[in-house]
Structure formats: structure tokens, C-alpha cells
Amino acid sequence: MSSLWIINKAGGLIYQAEHFTHPDPSVGRLSSNEYLVLAGTLHGIHAITSKLSPLQQHSKVNDTGLESLEADGFSLRVMVTLTGEFKREGEACSSSNLSLPSSSLPLPGTKFVLLTQPSHPRQATILQKCYEIYSDLVMKNPFYTSEMPIRVEAFDRAIESLLKR
């Protein structure tokens, strides 16, 4: 079982793919609206967790926030790309070359979220692969507008073959 979400910088769900067989197709499916709400909530939780550490003000490293969440029935893993903007000790430090308007709040990168069964061994690798496919097939596609929902056939195909393996 694995399911991939991609959450854009503003916290909107721009891609969601499920690749597993439901035991009972009649129950348990969430509507797309519910997924949007869940993704937004996860975005918020992620922002909070990146502020939780009391040492954060003094540490040289940026706290990236929630990385994984373990439960009895599933395991969730978050990967944040380095394309966001961070602010550290008063100086505006951006890790991206995009000229985004610098705000007082850190602007996180795009989040890749993977949901699998517990103790899945290759979560991080799969996420890395997803990012690779994303940059190859989505970002180089002239018909895709960044930060918008991803409707790219080749991407769907590639993600499917990756997650079903």
C-alpha cells in the first residue's frame, strides 16, 4: 500500500495518487475535498513542528519540522524540497534562486508526502525518486503552471509504475 501527496508552497494539495487495493471499495474513500483539508492541516502541523524546538533560534541548522509519523496501520513520511525560503537570525537567506518576496514567515518548499504500511523499508528512496520524476516530467513541461494541480499523463504513468513496484 502506498499513496503519494504533493503539497505546494501555499499548503494546497496539487497531486494525490493512491496505489493499493481497497479491501472494501464501498467504505473508507475520502472525497477530494476532505483530502484538501487533510493536506492543509498537515501543512499547518508541519509549520508548527518546525517552530517547536526551543533551541531553534540559536541553532545553525534550519529545523525542517515533521519528518515521519508512525501509527499502527500506516506510516507517513514527509520530504520538503529545498526550494523554499528561510529566514535566519535577521538576515534574509533564501535557498532558492527564485525572486520570491521575502516575508517574515519562512516559506517552505514543496512537500512530498508518502503514506505506506508500517515499517516500509524504502520510504526515503521512493520519495527521492518521486522528486526526480517530478522535476523531469512536471517542471520541464511547458503546459504545466507551477503551484497548480498536476495533470500530466507521463507523470501519472511514472508514479504508478514506481509505487506499484
Binding site: L137, K140, N141, P142, F143, R151, E153, R157
Partner: protein
């Protein structure tokens, strides 16, 4: 024009689409047509006329220009051909501007390279490398993909429909193709038999050359198949197919534009090559997805009637 042909050649297709080229061309237009302007430098003319953004005046100057502007020495031919080519394809509002812009690009880059040669020799520009030593240099697929993606985006904003978009892409490909043809032929002759250069004049060997050698020099590998249409009455149609075309590798066309094949660019390259070799044809690109190769593309070559007649007169 002592400059190597390749460096100007590589710049042109991109530069002639940049808007600021148009403005510099306009300034030179004006300086040559206004009689009472003092003998000031081009730079001041440019500043003086830059604020005027009225498109009608641009067009007027552009039209006048074709009469007043004189191009020295033997470059006349090159420019003449090119502007004719532009004129046949581009829409009427762009026509005068593009024909004259190509001339100013040539002059512009000539000036520029003369300056850079005397100023610094620290690092050789990619475009100024020796022509035949770059034979095995490769371009990163990613950078090419990003560049091509931007080309498609840019073109898409300036066209009214899918066929128009394909035509423009094909036009850009034509510019690339005519240069690549010269470069490939030149290198081939230099390495094979410089004393007695030889060229194919029959149709089939030419098509095989394009499918094989020419393809390899552009994309690093041969095309996957070359077929002739078997339908009755369509013996003048040939197809070159590739399973994983270079340009559409990272592009998936949305459903509502399924008619579009961005490989129109490649079709333009092939059309230019055939034209240059004396086999005028109409070349189009069509995506023919298969289970294994969702991007499989067929380049359809419909040869001109004159070519088929000539072939027949040669006999078999």
C-alpha cells in the same frame, strides 16, 4: 564578415525572437531614414527613439527601411534569402520587422565579437569555440529540455491555434536545420575525402542519410525506422519514426491539445535538410503512441511533385 559561420548561425534563431533585437533594429532604421539627424552615435539614437512605443510608427519605419537600408558586400544574398523565407511564413504585422531584424542581428553579433576578441582572452565563449573541435561535445539533456520548454511556452503565448503553434515551431526548427545541414555536410566532407566532396542526388540514399548520419549528428543516435507509404497514390510519402524523441521526452501534451506534436521542431529541421539538399518537401510531425513508447513520433515527409518527376526521369 570574417567571422566563422557557426557562431553567427547559432545565435540567430534565438536572438531574432528577442524583443530587444527589434528595438535596436528600429533605432538603426531611424538613423538611416531621418535626414536631418546630426552625425550622432547609434546609442543616442536609440535613447531618443526608445520611448516611442507606437506600433504603427514601427511598422512605417520598418517598411521604409527595406528601401533605404543598404547591406554591404556579399552578405546580400544570405539576408535576401532569409527575409524571403520569413515573409512566406510570418504573419503580416511581423513581416517587415522580422525581415530587417535578421540583418541587424548579423551586424550586431559581428560588432560584439570584434569587441570581445580585443578585450579579453580569458575564457572562450561556448559560441566561439573552434567549429570542428566541438564535434563530440554534448549538451545536457536537462538544459535542452528547459530551453525547449520555454520556447514552447513563449511560442504558445503568441499564436492563435494549434496549427499555428506547430507552424512556428517548425519555422524555428527550419532555422536550426539549415545550419545543422551545412555543419554536418562540412564535417563529413572534411573527414571523408576533402579533395573530392561527394553528395547524394538520388532520393532514397538521401533519405537514408537523413535517417542515419544526419540524425546521429543531431540526436546522438539514428532514427528508429524509415518507411515508405504503401497506400496507392501516396508513393511520395516517407516516414521517419523515433521511439523516444528528444524534444518531447519531458513534455506531455494535455488532452485538449492532443492534435499537437511538439516534434514539429524536428520536422522543421528535416524540412530544412531536405530543402538544402534539393528535395523540397512538406514535413509534419505526428505522435503515434504505442504501449511501450508513449512518445513515439512519426515525421511524415511529403515530397514535392518536382522531386518525384526528377526521380522518375533518372530511372532505376
Amino acid at each position: 564578415m570574417n567571422q566563422t559561420p557557426t557562431s553567427t548561425g547559432r545565435r540567430n534563431p534565438i536572438q531574432s525572437f528577442l524583443p530587444n533585437q527589434f528595438s535596436s533594429r528600429r533605432s538603426s532604421t531611424i538613423s538611416s531614414s531621418s535626414t536631418n539627424s546630426p552625425s550622432s552615435s547609434q546609442g543616442s539614437n536609440l535613447n531618443r527613439f526608445f520611448p516611442s512605443k507606437d506600433p504603427q510608427s514601427w511598422n512605417r519605419f520598418g517598411n521604409e527601411k527595406s528601401k533605404t537600408y543598404e547591406i554591404p558586400n556579399n552578405n546580400n544574398n544570405v539576408i535576401g534569402n532569409r527575409s524571403k523565407f520569413f515573409g512566406s511564413g510570418a504573419d503580416p504585422s511581423n513581416h517587415p520587422s522580422s525581415s530587417s531584424s535578421s540583418s541587424s542581428v548579423i551586424f550586431g553579433s559581428k560588432r560584439e565579437s570584434a569587441g570581445s576578441g580585443s578585450e579579453s582572452v580569458s575564457k572562450v565563449d561556448v559560441l566561439e569555440r573552434p567549429r570542428d573541435r566541438t564535434r563530440y561535445e554534448e549538451v545536457s539533456n536537462s538544459s535542452l529540455a528547459f530551453l525547449f520548454s520555454e520556447i514552447v511556452k513563449y511560442t504558445q503565448d503568441r499564436v492563435s491555434g494549434i496549427s499555428d503553434l506547430e507552424r512556428r515551431l517548425s519555422l524555428l526548427g527550419y532555422h536550426v536545420g539549415s545550419r545543422l545541414l551545412n555543419l554536418t555536410l562540412h564535417r563529413q566532407e572534411m573527414s571523408n575525402n576533402p579533395k573530392q566532396p561527394k553528395r547524394e542526388v538520388r532520393l532514397l540514399p538521401t533519405l537514408i542519410w537523413i535517417h542515419g548520419t544526419f540524425w546521429k549528428s543531431i540526436f546522438g543516435k539514428q532514427a528508429d525506422s524509415l518507411e515508405r507509404s504503401t497506400e496507392a497514390g501516396r508513393g511520395d510519402e516517407y516516414m521517419i519514426s523515433t521511439n523516444n524523441p528528444t524534444f518531447s521526452g519531458s513534455i506531455s501534451v494535455p488532452k485538449e491539445m492532443s492534435q499537437l506534436s511538439v516534434e514539429a521542431f524536428t520536422a522543421g529541421i528535416v524540412e530544412a535538410a531536405l530543402d538544402g539538399l534539393g528535395f523540397p518537401a512538406r514535413v509534419t510531425a505526428h505522435t503515434v503512441p504505442t504501449q511501450e513508447h508513449p512518445n513515439r513520433t512519426t515525421i511524415l515527409i511529403k515530397l514535392d511533385k518536382s522531386v518525384m518527376e526528377r526521380e522518375e526521369s533518372f530511372g532505376s
